[in-house]
């Protein structure tokens, strides 16, 4: 008897109990769908994050000070400790190519002429090299001390007439103060340029810390209002006591040795007596400085993601186990119910292995149908999920193959014992069975 004939007969009996077969398969469908959906989402999430890291970001060290052993992503538990002077000192070191602060300035709105759009926390005050050359689609980066800004496409497109290089914008702070910025560049992507920003795409305007952070942090609002002489309004501000929550130190190159050297030098300095930050960090102080590359930060995130994914996949696997127990159970019922049929088949010449094959085929078909439908459902769910969270869709194809294999395995494992019982049935008893 050929396998195809087995499958044909098995398919008959499956169709003979449509509802029962459907419910049995449902257990496998849910299990496989859950695994595939979460694996797809996980892979898409990773691709979304990893895909955002440009190679020239690799020499950047992102630093902050926090209580030792604070768990979490970038800036978890960060306290403002690094002063502008500290950064200037660090920048002087041979190992360091640039050092600057990073801060978001709370704002209310941005206007281009008569048109005003709301902007919450999109004003990013940082150093000029933060906007790397490769990231620019148009123009150049801003210069420190100048009232200049680089917009990302999402910010530029907020206005009816897209903002371009050369335009002048008016920024309104939370306090109600207003200041002007000249647009000097547009970035290529709306996604975050560093782990500090997060990776999602949102409207952002990049400006120099001097003067914008100084003014914003002083809590007095920007300058002296519209059309004010750039810089003149902030002259009196106490910049020497300005501390940054987040700092960026750029190493000379992305080489591991260079990055490590820059990191060591920066930490050593911040913990030394000379640094303003040393009142809070190093020695007997409470806080600890952390400098990490985006790859390292990402690794942490990936570890968390992986842990979460394994956890969920584990739960999904349990549902798969329950599904296969369901198949085994229904097959046992089926064997008992069809005892007489088994007797008939044996009476007309069916060998034990053929009876075994028939019931095994039935279980495997249930498993495979469950796996195929589950995979389809899982991919759909993963697709919708990725679409909803706006992630690049990555189909983990090896998992699809794996799912089908698991389906076959589930069928074989759960069908083996019932099929063996069927094969062993004594035809004399079976024919007499009511």
């Amino acid at each position: 008897m050929r396998p195809l004939e087995h499958a044909r007969l098995a398919w008959r009996s499956i169709r003979g109990h449509k509802l029962r077969s459907a419910l049995t398969t449902l257990g496998v469908i849910i299990g496989i769908a859950a695994v595939i959906a979460f694996v797809t989402l996980g892979a898409s999430l990773q691709a979304g994050i990893v895909g955002d890291i440009s190679p020239d970001d690799q020499r950047n060290l992102y630093g902050w000070a926090a209580e030792p052993e604070t768990e979490g992503g970038p800036l978890a538990g960060a306290q403002p400790v690094v002063s502008q002077d500290d950064l200037e000192e660090i920048e002087e070191f041979d190992e360091v190519s640039a050092a600057y602060g990073y801060a978001t300035v709370p704002t209310q709105a941005v206007s281009d002429g008569d048109e005003q759009v709301a902007l919450g926390d999109g004003l990013v005050a940082t150093g000029p090299s933060y906007v790397r050359e490769g990231e620019l689609a148009e123009g150049r980066s801003f210069e420190a001390g100048e009232r200049e800004a680089v917009l990302n496409p999402a910010a530029a497109e907020q206005f009816e007439e897209n903002v371009t290089v050369g335009d002048e914008l008016v920024v309104t702070t939370v306090g109600g103060g207003q200041t002007t910025v000249d647009v000097v560049g547009i970035t290529a992507t709306s996604e975050g340029l560093s782990p500090f920003e997060g990776f999602e795409a949102s409207p952002r305007i990049y400006v120099p810390t001097d003067p914008y952070y100084a003014e914003g942090a002083a809590g007095i609002g920007f300058g002296d209002g519209l059309g004010g002489d750039p810089g003149s309004g902030s002259e009196a501000e106490p910049t020497d006591d300005l501390r940054y929550l987040a700092v960026v130190v750029e190493a000379q190159s992305a080489e591991e040795a260079d990055v490590d050297a820059a990191r060591d030098r920066a930490v050593e300095y911040l913990e030394s007596e000379e640094a303003d930050a040393s009142e809070f960090v190093g020695g007997g102080e409470d806080l600890e400085v952390t400098f990490q590359t985006s790859t390292e930060l990402l690794q942490q995130l990936q570890d968390i993601l992986e842990l979460l994914q394994n956890f969920i996949v584990g739960i999904a696997a349990i549902s798969l186990l329950v599904g296969s127990i369901g198949i085994a159970n229904i097959m046992l019922v089926s064997v008992t119910e069809r005892t007489r049929e088994i007797g008939i088949m044996k009476a007309v010449g069916a060998q034990n292995r053929e009876v075994l094959g028939l019931f095994l085929a039935e279980a495997v078909i249930l498993g495979v149908v469950g796996a195929v439908l589950g995979t389809a459902l899982g991919l759909l769910a993963g697709y919708l999920g990725a679409l909803y969270v706006d992630l690049p869709l990555v189909y983990p194809l090896e998992y699809v193959a794996l799912a089908i294999l698991v389906g076959i395995l589930v069928g074989v494992l759960s069908g083996l014992y019932p099929a063996w019982r069927a094969a062993r049935t004594d035809p004399i008893d079976a024919l007499r069975y009511e």
């Binding site: 008897m1 008959r12 010449g349 060998q351 024919l431």
Partner: protein, 268 residues
């Protein structure tokens, strides 16, 4: 009688079931079923009819003695070989029809050939032909529950015949049929018997048994007597396979002693 002329032979067959105390279901039975013959086996409940049927049908093996079906010693075969022999050489007809409920009439008839590995097209062709012969040419695609009792039994008969077996073994074939349908089915048995099929019918009804050429009466696991009949309800056969005189109650095989001697001669 040459072995090629014998469909089934039993020699001093014992079957003992080891229950709380041993049950001697068959206690020294010897019997020959010649090819092309029509034998009825009668006896009260517990006389060993079912056990005899299971042995002849290669479903079971004797505790003692030899059962030869189509020239092969059943006791010397393993389970799988016995299954193969059964599939090829024995056709079953049951009281309760025992059709596969989810297979059509045609597929039911083709089932034994499926297990023999016959190709699909050939199987269906053969099954259709047999269904036509039992008068169900227009019911091939019906499921068993769409057929009447008589029609189901015809399907079962067609299935029993599909492999051209050495014998058809019918267990109370008309037990679930009304009188009229019973007559139809028994006529069909007679028809196939005339065409050369060896029939063994187990029954407890006299009028069913009387359609056969001889009746083997079982009692308490032994052959009480063998009653030879003039072919009732069918034309007399020019050369009855059994050499003994009709109507005479005889010791099993005893009356065949001449034949037996001849058979032995032919063997040598």
């Amino acid at each position: 009688m040459a072995s090629s002329d014998v469909a089934v032979s039993l020699e001093n067959v014992h079957k003992t079931y080891r229950l709380a105390e041993p049950v001697y279901a068959l206690d020294g039975v010897s019997l020959e079923v010649p090819r092309g013959s029509y034998t009825a086996i009668m006896g009260p409940s517990g006389s060993g009819k079912s056990t005899l049927m299971n042995l002849v049908g290669c479903l079971d093996t004797p505790t003692e003695g030899v059962v030869v079906v189509d020239g092969r010693d059943v006791t010397a075969l393993d389970g799988s070989e016995r299954t193969a022999l059964r599939g090829e050489q024995v056709g079953f007809v049951f009281q309760t029809f025992n059709l596969m409920p989810r297979l059509s009439a045609l597929e039911n008839v083709a089932l034994p050939q499926l297990f023999l590995g016959v190709g699909r097209a050939e199987r269906r062709e053969r099954a259709r032909e047999l269904l036509e012969r039992v008068g169900l040419g227009d019911r091939t695609d019906h499921l068993p529950n769409e057929l009447s009792g008589g029609q189901r039994q015809r399907v079962a008969l067609a299935r029993a015949l599909v492999n051209d077996p050495a014998l058809v073994l019918a267990d109370e074939p008309s037990g679930n049929l009304d009188t009229e349908t019973e007559a139809d089915v028994l006529d069909l048995f007679a028809e196939f018997h005339d065409a050369g099929t060896t029939m063994v019918v187990v029954t407890h009804e006299r009028h069913v048994a009387e359609r056969a050429e001889r009746i083997v009466h079982l009692l308490d696991g032994r052959i009480e007597r063998i009653e030879e009949l003039e072919g009732v309800g069918e034309p007399a056969r020019p050369d009855p396979a059994s050499g003994s005189r009709p109507g005479s109650a005889v010791e099993p095989k005893g009356a065949d002693s001449d034949d037996k001697t001849r058979a032995e001669d032919e063997h040598e």
